[in-house]
Symmetry: C2
Subunit: 197 residues, 2 copies
DNA sequence: ATGTTCTGTCCGAGCACTTGACATCAGAGG
DNA sequence: CCTCTGATGTCAAGTGCTCGGACAGAACAT
């Protein structure tokens, strides 16, 4: 169904992103050279600009792809738990674990010239919040329809911001944070549920 | 090192060959439609012609690729046996087994409009003989350098023609043929070796 | 001050693929 | 017998993407 040209374009994008990501992991934002990405992929420098506009666009695309993968993984963790509280705990733990192991996040946080990288993390944080809202909200609505949308939103919102904070400023182990959050938030959800039954 | 364009061209060729091979397996030579190959690959009909010239060229390319894979597999079987006689037996058995399981060969042999397909098998047979000569000859020279090149060539030649005959006209199980050939040919090789020590 | 390196932009040439048309041939059916 | 259909093979014009080279500007080191 999809034309060969379409698939090729996708592959080109993917390979460029691979090269770029590798460069960022190795040397941070400053270590990312447009010419190097082009060379590694076997393509002209111009082609990289055609595809991503400018260096910032390339970096953003790298982050977007990684974000999507990240969320996909976290979503799987949620889906395995029918109980929203357990889903919350699982998601938090998985997210923190993944973040701790992710070389791209490490690079963004630790590299010297990370003015840009941290800004990117903030931007991505916004996107993560939006996407995760949809997914987590749907999960709550599905299993606990009694809980009003507003309350579910509030709960998810708080959890996400705490998680992002823990990613940016690492602290206790993932499981501990997950338990803590679940303990703190579950009474709120449970009561909301009881009130609107 | 290789440019993205090169890799893409290779991939295009491969996908076209995949589609063509599938068509041949399903419907023989007559079942192979240029337009269908193009459609399945997501490319224009003209592109198929640009790549392979004409229908016969496409079919030949399919056969060539499959031949290469076939020989690669057989070569591995040979390489595992230091003793040339054992190598011969292993190669014969592997070749007949592979041929018996290969859908493309089955299609070429069983399809109705197989005037072309059988001719193709003949052509390929020639190529197989040439390539296998190089490989088998090298194997004998490596392990039994005493055997003159002419004798090794004769031995390999006979074996190859018998094998091809068994592929075209299936008979006893592969292992039986392999043993038979090994038994028949080994005295010749052994004596030649003894004489030229 | 000067040279170097990288970003970002522009443009002309080239190449592969697409599209549509056409000639030709074989088989099927009226 | 004639025609209609579907397939192969060829051609030319059009299109999009990529390439290569050149250039200006900014940051930085010597």
């Amino acid at each position: 169904m999809t034309s060969f040209a379409d698939r090729t374009k996708r592959r080109l994008r993917d390979e460029l992103l691979d090269a770029a990501q590798e460069a960022v992991v190795a040397g941070g934002y400053d270590g990312l050279r447009m010419a190097e990405v082009a060379r590694r992929t076997g393509v002209s420098r111009q082609t990289v600009y055609n595809e991503f506009g400018d260096k910032w666009g390339l970096l953003e695309a790298v982050a977007a792809r990684e974000t999507e993968r990240f969320l996909l993984d976290v979503n799987n963790a949620i889906a395995e738990q029918p109980n929203p509280i357990d889903g919350l705990r699982a998601a938090v733990e998985r997210a923190l674990t993944l973040a701790g192991e992710n070389p791209l996040i490490k690079a963004a946080l630790s590299q010297p010239g990370s003015d840009q990288a941290s800004q990117l993390l903030t931007t991505r944080g916004q996107q993560v919040i939006e996407l995760a809202h949809l997914r987590l909200g749907a999960h709550v609505r599905e299993h606990w329809p009694e809980v009003p949308a507003e309350d579910a939103t509030s709960c998810v919102d708080v959890a996400l911001r705490v998680v992002i904070s823990h990613i940016v400023t690492p602290g206790p182990p993932p499981a501990a944070v997950a338990d803590q959050l679940a303990r703190v938030l579950s009474p709120f959800l449970a009561e909301s549920r009881r009130l609107h039954v």
